[in-house]
Amino acid sequence: MSQAPKPEELLRVSHIPPKKDWMDPRVDLIPGTWGYPGKASSLETLGLPNPREWNPTDEDWKLPPNWKEIIHEGLKERLEKYRSLKVFLDICVRCGACADKCHFFIGSGDPKNMPVLRAELLRSIYRQDFTMAGKILGTFAGGRELTEDVIKEWFYYFHQCTECRRCSLYCPYGIDTAEVTIIVRELLNLIGVNIDWILGAAANCYRTGNHLGLEPHTFKGNIEYLVDDIEEYVGVRLNPTFNRKGAEVLFIAPSGDVFADPGIFTYMGYLMLFEHIGLDYTISTYASEGGNFGLFTSQETMKRLNSKMYAEAKRLGVKWILGGECGHMWRVLHQYMDTMNGPADFLEVPKSPITGTVFDNAKSTKMVHIVEFMADLIHHGKLKLNPSRNDYLRTTWHDSCNVSRGMGMFEEPRYVLQSVCNNFYEMPENTIREQTFCCGGGTGLNAGEFEYLRMMGGMPRAFAVKHVQEKHGVNRLVNVCALDRAILPPLMDYWAPEVSVSGLTELVANALVMEGEHDRLTDLRGEDIPGMEGDE
């Protein structure tokens, strides 16, 4: 519904705060900057509280009568469960080092999008209700009364944070506003305040295993379409297997790569790569989603969705798990999975059957990232590559937030990209690697109705791309996150037209010289490869 305004208008954003005191919680729900509420049916599937029909623009949000008590108890419980929360609420000195680090603040100018103030929205309530100073001194100590307006404010601003952790990098105490956002979203879920783009996806993942709700036969069918496309463009027929017991490796990718353009080209890449090296792998329809929409809901939901991976690996009797290109999936896998659903002692320490490399860094989780896996293959010369097939691309690399600030994967993808593509240009220094900017739509903020804010929030990323587009003629933005592959294309259309977006494995597969292939006149997108037409 909401169309984002023209780029020129967005550029007029002012960073001067309004006159109104930030302690006043009343928000103006600007169209295009908030998501539709979670549907009752999704809440019921997940067994979450307070399923009902409601609308954020209504005066009455139909909160449970004892909502205040629920929030209070919920916060208390979480203070006891998470040291991070307690420490982060107590020690912020409001130095503002994080303030202009958030893409949503840079893009929108709304001061409550400064990470410090975003956290302060919770902190003020915590101070009032849980600290001695706040109880005695109230506002003077920075305390605020918990009212329905505060809940509405939370709903608005904690769904304007993509949990990208960029703020955390610069904070002298490592205060991670993403942690605060995670907790506040949990609290909101306790009283049934959430958005549908998250809840719907989480419910689908729970029921069918993937976020679009593809049932097993459709899921398999979709991949078979990709197999047909590969046959057409490459001339090789592949036969991936599904739910096969006894395979060596279970492969799990974000399901976005199974059905949505341009993720599907990345999926075609996965299939071609595995065929090329003769990997004994299988794909599961039950654990058919890598991305974890539970992370944006609650710790429990995250654990429930994630549990399928180990359960399926055990049932199928594989040796280890290989994970596709995904952001949030990897944040969960890397930082939470083993703790929540381990120990995975029924699996073996991952060892590449092709190179013999033992992945010691995944000794306990038993889960390897496809980029680590590919980097190892390339390093050992196990892939036959013809990078000149990617010569028509001038690429740059987008470090996805989660694999950057939540995992530390910087060199592997650059190594792979530069092995399969001759033209590579880095974006400006303060916008890459650990300082990378979010696409503006992670954590379930990719909803259509959220487009206005997404274009604002994605502005810093887009501008860095535009910079290398103007300077080096970059025309392809490569990344390893399924949400990026969904979110960045419209962002590029908006700010840096002519830059297309793809996953890394797509480019690897473009360059891969497959046994029995015919002349590759097109890339995996079915588009002519410039310079190759001459061979006809």
Binding site: P17, D176, P216, E300, K303, E372, R405
Partner: protein, 332 residues
């Protein structure tokens, strides 16, 4: 508003001491009772805050990775910014606590003429670190009032601090830098519209308080009319330190204001953002190794959850699976 409240509060407290210790002669209260009470509140409060934090577990390993992970043997990992060993973590924490590593990264974003530029911005880092180190030096320097003989490192520090040999009494560089840094931090809050918007009384109050402590100290030392008898001060300080407090005559009221403001700072400390001194050590994004796929971390409350099992899943979709040639555990 916040800034005036805080300023008035500090001025009010000074006036209060001026009346109490100066005019009413309640020196024993301001010289003995208040400092002891403040120290007690500080010690108990500080420990309780630390224990309070420590009581909550760290369920997940969530370091902010600011450098290359340890993965393949031929890729150089970043030992400090993405530590995977205990020593790496120690290194990261040391850089954080001693050098303000994260703040050093600070940049400033500017949107001008349709371009976004990020410049390095180290002013906050510079004045932040100057403030902390000079404050620390001054506190250590004060040990000379509490010790007899004065330990050599305190004497050495004293000498280094007065190295420039300006004026008489010799001007300590730290005094000047401390005040300059405090003023920078204060003015930054007032002048930068965003900082002004987000600042609370709790942000201005400690600045004014410390500024008050510094200025009263400086006045006593450098301005003849406020001069206090240093020997008497030392008698009082030694008395407090050896738990046999006495109130010598002839200490000027400026001293009592100085001491009172410092006592307030001590007592206020555990209840305020100043606790970042302790909290920085407990921050899970900084003090954990990035090795969560190598080593299993245990969550003491690992929540039990209801999952959608494969069996249920197959029950839900068995016919469709069979039709699509997908293997099933149970035939229909």
């Amino acid at each position: 508003m916040a800034v005036w409240y805080s300023l008035l509060l500090v001025l009010g407290m000074s006036l209060f001491v001026y009346l109490g210790a100066g005019l009413l002669g309640l020196q024993a209260i301001f010289g003995i009772v208040v400092p002891y009470a403040a120290i007690l509140v500080f010690l108990i409060g500080f420990s309780m805050r630390i224990l309070g934090w420590a009581r909550s577990p760290v369920p997940f390993r969530i370091p902010t990775t600011a450098g290359q992970q340890k993965s393949l043997g031929w890729i150089k990992p970043s030992k400090v910014d993405s530590p995977y060993t205990t020593w790496g973590v120690v290194g990261r924490m040391a850089m954080e606590v001693l050098l303000f590593r994260s703040l050093f990264r600070n940049t400033k974003a500017e949107l001008t003429e349709g371009k976004l530029a990020y410049g390095s911005s180290k002013w906050l880092w510079l004045f932040g670190i100057l403030f902390h180190y000079t404050f620390l030096t001054i506190i250590i320097r004060h040990l000379r009032f509490f010790t007899e003989p004065v330990p050599f490192f305190v004497q050495a520090l004293d000498r280094i601090d007065g190295m420039l040999q300006i004026g008489s009494p010799v001007i300590y560089q730290t005094d000047v830098i401390l005040v300059a840094a405090l003023l920078f931090l204060l003015i930054r809050r007032l002048v930068n519209p965003q900082m002004r918007y987000l600042s609370l009384p709790a942000d201005y109050f400690p600045l004014f308080l410390i500024l008050g402590i510094a200025l009263t100290g400086i006045m006593m030392r450098y301005f003849a009319i406020f001069k206090v008898d240093l020997l008497s001060v030392k008698v009082l300080a030694m008395g407090l330190a050896t738990f046999s407090p006495t109130i010598p005559d002839g200490i000027g009221v400026m001293f009592y204001i100085h001491l009172f403001l410092f006592s307030v700072l001590l007592a206020y400390f555990p209840f305020s953002k100043l606790m970042h001194l302790g909290g920085v050590f407990l921050s899970p994004t900084r003090n954990l190794p990035n090795d969560s796929r190598m080593v299993r971390h245990v969550n003491p409350w690992n929540a039990p959850v209801k999952v959608h099992t494969y069996e249920h899943y197959e029950d839900d979709f068995r016919d469709k699976m069979i039709e699509a040639d997908l293997p099933v555990e149970k035939q229909a």
